[in-house]
Structures are given as structure tokens and as C-alpha cells.
Symmetry: C2
Subunit: 456 residues, 2 copies
């Protein structure tokens, strides 16, 4: 008999959720985590950034309250307290994950672990056996070999731990992480520049929405189509040298430089390669049921390279556990459908979306009909923001079938609204079906309704 | 040839939306409105209350900012500016509705109008003819004949126009209107009592959620199961006499008393009875396609008694116009499905729901399985509110089929989240289907996901 039914490598969203589901089902589960359970997401990712962004939004609302009839003087951002609230939030949530795993009988060992082969994992120098192994080792920030970068840049984990609001911040990379940090510190008074290689920020987002998001973020100068060449300067004053879209050399000097050009699967110490797992473009290859090429070995979350989103890791963990718990009998729906996984950006303004952008649809050869409507058509949006605030919804629908293939939005509440769009896509509703879904009035989510009626 | 293709009586959500859809289709439309287009909703209902509640929330956030790292002194609620922002919002939205109707070629006449028979409407003393007539005359506050009430109470329209924050406010009625006003003024410092006849506030809401909503509203004393007997006192100091749940006489004295026991269809001056429309329990009887008993006469919105929600009026208008525009050929889905119309309450905390409560399901003889989960399971909820803030999600599912029949929630963002639940109910998804929908992390809407997994 094996030591465990299942061994899970990694205690982030994919790993701890698999542990919870399997423990709940009564399986003997060993969860290996070298650091703190909760992984990047809870400790140095989604949660701390959202905590700080909530503080920043509270600060902006206090500054902006006068027009709504809320007077205040001496409004001040107290970074130390923002950091303390963030730390308290993280501690609470880590404690919740730990307590839940313990309650469900999951054994947690504070060790990285390394896959030694099907059903075999090395833990602290000895081999533990299990019928099934789930690789959930996550990802780590990419540090490109730009001359002079080493020692002059911080990654997202480093910037989260900063003890002051930087006077000047340069962000290299205009993806979600770069944009959220840029928006956070701009809101708190930093002078912020973002240098992005591509012609638009947030490249997964439909450009009609991404451009509005960019224009809506106040206090940040975006340098698009720019390649960073090198860094130099003294500690506390780094100069970023880059080539702009016209091919001209440019430079920016700041006390703090964030490198946020992406993340890559964390594989090196996981034993994946040595045990014979297929590695494709630096990620563990899985099929749509999360199976790897080795029998009884599964992979979920960032390490698969399929998505870097925590909720995608949750979904992958659910798929893998559904198949582990019902061998050969899991429902046919238990497959990864990447086109119905939403994303959200918690910058100011917020944005969110699910499904195909117009460009992605065209790249697949689909003939699509699109509509973009402004959020000032929503009464609640106007009541809470005025007509000039940034906000829009875009719908991408197939021209013949009228099936909705993408819904994208920028504006208040977008991250909380978008799951309904995921439900629309999962059910392959048409534009006309969507029009029949009743959305409460007055809400900002009614913008989706307006967009459905605006789709020709 | 008739004077118009369609005459619409009433310029509220049901009426103006019908006008927009029909005008867009190229029909000749006359819209009659005695007051201001936008109706109760835009002028003295949904929109002004949400504007003021947004101001109140901004005020509370400024007061509560210190724990999130936002210092402020002299935080003060400036009622005159709150009222000015409200007025500006209403003016903007009324202007938008007017401009849109004009752009679509709809003729607006500032007259109540009265139905004179099929295809015939009296307008300013003469008869206008049309192929179709839509009755959208809305509703008005109920003023029950309680001794001494006249002259000592205001209705919601009156309270919206108040020029100061009342020191003491008594609200008669614990429905949506009563609860939203109670929460608004309690947030702004009024001492507020709510006297409700039933054993729980918000009677359409599942009691597990309604009780949490009630307990979460700070600064309001709720008197449940209490019958108001009479009012007396001088102007500016009214005493409300009521019998409490134990049958004991009680009284409350306040400068302002809001009567908010409900609304009734506005029929009296509409010509409905004289023209021969079936009136049942004070409402114009319609079938699920919004047809009345008279040929070519339709009714939508509050006047039908089917729902008092603006978005239900929108939906009814869309159903009626779909049938008018495609006689005999409207899609079978163009029928009113009351069980999938969500509702939202914008008090502090907010709440929302769609579908059956547990009690409603049992009253229909359904065997249901339910789950209630706290929102502190959501990382974003904890990051933005802490673990002690009020928040919960309840799911009501049929035991055999596992089809979700109701989703109810209290907590931040509930009104923006709930439309996804409407999509779930419209598609008759099971608990297991719902679990497969990916909700972004970290969001409060993930509470619905937690509830789906918590459903046994």
C-alpha cells in the first residue's frame, strides 16, 4: 500500500484546492509546500495587491468625496498602515487555508518535494509513495538578462515589501502585474512611467477596452512599443535606457524600478524533468483533463503554462480531482475550457473580460460582429462616477450563429460583474439569448445588456 | 390609417424603453407623459436613492478609512451637496432618455392620456388613434388610512426632497424603500427606527439572507411584527403609536416619519376601467406576453402588478415590443419569467437575489437542498472589509434534479454580481454545472462558487 493516496507538490491555489477536495473525499493526502501555504496568490500576489489597491481606492474616494457631498481635510495615505492591513489580510487568509486543510485531514510538510517517478516523490531525502501525484509548483517572475538590470530592479514580491511610497517608479512591462502596481502607486502620489514592448498594454485584452483602460489610469505615462536596452546608475537612482517606437533612444530615472515582464512555470527543483515529464516551452505538458505523459501524474495551475490565473488553477485542480475521484467516470464537462476563463485587472479603473477579443476571433478565422458601448448608459455608473469617467463594454459575437464569444469591460465593478459573462459563454448563448437575461436596474452590469442591444 | 403605429401611456422605464425599441424599428410612436420622462425610477425612485446612497457610502468609507491606511480629519456629510449631485444625476439621465427618444423619432406629448378603447387614446380632449396601445402608467405610494397619518408622514418622494438630515426618523414599512431610506439616513447620523408588520424585513428575500441584512445595517432599530395604530403630535414632532409583537402598546416620536408600506398600480386616471380592461386586485391583468383582454392593448411595468422593479418593466416592454414587431412570430422565449428576475437592495450592506427563497420553494411543494456560506471565504471580501463584516450567500436547489432555483446574497457588490445568477437560473443549470463556471479570483462573487461547493 502506498504511503498516501495522493501527494500534491505545491500549496498555492491549485495545490491547496486539490488538497481540500481530496481531503474532503476522505483520501489520504500529503501536501508539500516549501514556503507558506496559499502560494504566490495569497502571500505575494492576488491578495496583497488587492488589499493595497483597496487602500488606494479608499484614498482616492476620500480625496474625491467633495462632489458627492463628503467633506474631509488632511486626507493622507499612510503607507505603514496600508502595509499592516495587507499583512493582516494575508495572515488571516493563510490561516484559513491552513485550518481548512487540517480540518480535512491533509498532511502538510514544509518541503519543496521532487517528483522521482510515477507514484514516487522525494521528501527530505526519502521517498514517499502515492497512487497519484499532482504537480502544482506554480511560477516565478521572469528576470530577462538586460545589461545592468541585476541589483537595480525589484520584482513584484520586492515591491510589495517596500517601506515607502516611491517618489518615482518605472515599471518595465505593461501586463496585469505592471499595470496594477503602476496604478496603485500613481494613486498614492508616485510619478509613474510604464515601458511596454508591445503597441498596447494588457495584450490579452481586446484593444478597444485596453486602450480605454490605459487612457483611464491617471498619473501614469505609458511608453508603448519601447524596448528596454540597459540600466545603469547608483543605488536609489537607476536609469532605464530604452528605444522608443520611432527607434530613438530614451531614458527614465527613478528611485525604484519594477521588472514585470512576465512569469514562468517553476520547474527547476521539482524533479519534473528527471522523472521524465514532458516539458514543452518550459511548462509541464498536460491534456485537457490535466493528465501528464506519466501515469498517475497530473499537473495543475501556472506550472502547466496554460494560464497564470489563480482561478484557472482552481479549475484545473477541480478537473484533476474529479478524474482522480471518479476514474474513468468523470463527467464529460470536466475538461479545461480556456475560452471561458475570465480575467480581471484591479487597477483604477478596473477591467475584466472573458472569451475572445475581436483580434483573437479574427485570428481564428471567425467572422464576428462587435459592439462597444459606453458605461454612461448605466444610471448607476453616472450616479456614482459622472458621465466622464472611463467605462465601456465590448461584445464579440459570431456573425452567423450570433453566439457570444467574448465580453470585455472597463469600469467600476467589472471584476464582480464578469462571472455572468463566463456563464453566458459556457452556455454558448446568442446575442438574443443574452438580451433576455434580466439584469437589475440600476447597475453598472446593465452595460452588458446595453452592449447586447447595441450589437447589430 | 391610424395617427400612430403605437401610443404608449407613461414615460417610465416600461414606457420609454418600449418607445425606444419601437422607434428604433421605424414605427410612428406617441409617448404620453404627464410629468417628466424617466418616470418614478429616474426622477424619484431608483436613481436619486442610489445617488444619495453612494454619497452615504462614500461618507462611511471616509470615516472608516483609517484601518486601511487613509487618514482624514473633519469628515462631514454635506447634505446640500449630496442633494445637488443627486439633482445633477437625475437631470443628466432624464436628458439622456429624452435625447434618445427624440433621436429615434418618438413623439413625446406632456399629457397623461387616457385609454378610450382599443386603438383609441384621449389626449388633451381629442382622440388619437393607433394600431397598438401600451399601458405603462406605473405605480404610486400606498397611503393606508391610519388615523392621524395625514399631514404627519411623508412618502418617498417627499423624503427625497428633504432639505436636512433628520435628527430622528421613523420608517413605517421594512420593504426595499423603507430599508434603503433607513440605511441612508442612519449612515448620515440620523437615529432611525423601522416599524414592520411582518416578522422579518424585505419579505421577498430568503429569511437567512434578510436576517443577516437586518443585523448588518448599523444604526437602525427594527421593530418587527408591529402594527402601527395611529399618529399624533405637532408639526415637526410626530408620535407613532404601534402594537408590538407581544401585543403591548409602544410609541416612537420623530421629526420625520416616512410611510413606505408599498406601492400600487396607477390606474385611476388612465381610462383603463372605462375602456373595459380587466382589472384584477387593482392591476391591469396581462398574460405572459403582456397582452391585456382588449385587442391591441398591452400593459407593462408596475401597472400590471406583476413586479414593481424597473428592470422587470424593461423586460415586459421588450416582450410586448417583440410581439408587436413580429406579430405571431416572436420567439417562444419572449414570455415573462418572473422566477428569473433578480432584485437588489442598495442599503449598507447591499443585498441581491434571484429566484425562489427556501420558503417559496417549500410553498410550491419542491424538495430543496440549501447551503448558506459566509463571505469571509472570499479573499477580496476579507481584504476590503475584514472577516467580521456582514456577508453571506445562499443557494436553493431542487433535491432530485439539482437544478438551482434561487441564489441570494448579502454583502459588497451583490447588486453587480447577481445577474450571473439570473443567467444560471435562465439556463436551468444544476449545482454541478454552476461549479464548473469559472469566477475570477479574488472576487466577492466567488462566494457563489463557495456556496455551490457547500451545497450538499
Amino acid at each position: 500500500m502506498s504511503d498516501y493516496d495522493v501527494i500534491v507538490l505545491g500549496g498555492g491555489p491549485g495545490g491547496y484546492l486539490a488538497g481540500e477536495r481530496l481531503g474532503h473525499a476522505g483520501l489520504r493526502v500529503l501536501l508539500l509546500e516549501a514556503d507558506t501555504v496559499g502560494g504566490t496568490c495569497v502571500n505575494v500576489g492576488c491578495i496583497p495587491t488587492k488589499s493595497l489597491l483597496h487602500s488606494a481606492k479608499t484614498y482616492l474616494h476620500a480625496l474625491d468625496g467633495a462632489r458627492f457631498g463628503v467633506k474631509a481635510t488632511g486626507v493622507e495615505a499612510d503607507w505603514a498602515t496600508m502595509q499592516a492591513w495587507k499583512a493582516k489580510t494575508v495572515k488571516t487568509l493563510v490561516g484559513g487555508v491552513q485550518a481548512n486543510l487540517k480540518r480535512l485531514g491533509v498532511t502538510i510538510v514544509n518541503d519543496l518535494g521532487a517528483l522521482a517517478g510515477p507514484g514516487r516523490v522525494e521528501v527530505g531525502g526519502s521517498i514517499q509513495t502515492a497512487d497519484q501525484v499532482i504537480m502544482a509548483t506554480g511560477s516565478e517572475p521572469v528576470m530577462p538578462p538586460i545589461p545592468g538590470a541585476e541589483g537595480r530592479v525589484v520584482d513584484s514580491t520586492g515591491l510589495l515589501a517596500i517601506d515607502h511610497i516611491p517618489e518615482r517608479l518605472v515599471v518595465i512591462g505593461g501586463g496585469v502585474i505592471g499595470v496594477e502596481f503602476a496604478s496603485l502607486f500613481a494613486a498614492l502620489g508616485s510619478r509613474v512611467d510604464v515601458v511596454e514592448l508591445l503597441p498596447e498594454i494588457l495584450p490579452f485584452m481586446d484593444t478597444d477596452i485596453a486602450s480605454r483602460a490605459r487612457e483611464g489610469i491617471e498619473g501614469v505615462t505609458f511608453h508603448l512599443g519601447c524596448r528596454v536596452e540597459s540600466l545603469d546608475g547608483e543605488p536609489g537612482s537607476s536609469t532605464v535606457h530604452f528605444t522608443d517606437a520611432a527607434g530613438e533612444p530614451q531614458e527614465l530615472t527613478a528611485g525604484t524600478v519594477l521588472m514585470a515582464v512576465g512569469r514562468r512555470p517553476r520547474i527547476a527543483d521539482s524533479g519534473a524533468a528527471g522523472a521524465g515529464l514532458d516539458i514543452v516551452r518550459g511548462a509541464i505538458r498536460v491534456d485537457d483533463t490535466m493528465r501528464t505523459n506519466l501515469p498517475g501524474v497530473w499537473a495543475v495551475g501556472d506550472v502547466t503554462g496554460r494560464s497564470l490565473l489563480a482561478h484557472a488553477a482552481y479549475r484545473m485542480a477541480e478537473i484533476a480531482t474529479a478524474h482522480i475521484l471518479s476514474p474513468g467516470q468523470a463527467p464529460p464537462g470536466q475538461r479545461l475550457r480556456e475560452d471561458t476563463i475570465p480575467w480581471a485587472v484591479y487597477s483604477i479603473p478596473e477591467s475584466a473580460g472573458v472569451g475572445l477579443s475581436e483580434a483573437q476571433a479574427q485570428a481564428r478565422g471567425l467572422d464576428v460582429t462587435c459592439a462597444v458601448v459606453p458605461l454612461y448608459l448605466s444610471g448607476r455608473f453616472v450616479a456614482e462616477n459622472g458621465v466622464k469617467a472611463p467605462g465601456a463594454v465590448k461584445i464579440v459575437a459570431e456573425t452567423g450563429s450570433r453566439v457570444v464569444r467574448g465580453i470585455h469591460m472597463v469600469g467600476t465593478y467589472a471584476p464582480e460583474t464578469i462571472w455572468g459573462a463566463a456563464a453566458v459563454l459556457e452556455n454558448e448563448l446568442t446575442v438574443e439569448d443574452l438580451r433576455q437575461i434580466v439584469i437589475p436596474h440600476p447597475t453598472v452590469s446593465e452595460g452588458i445588456r446595453e452592449a447586447s442591444w447595441g450589437t447589430p
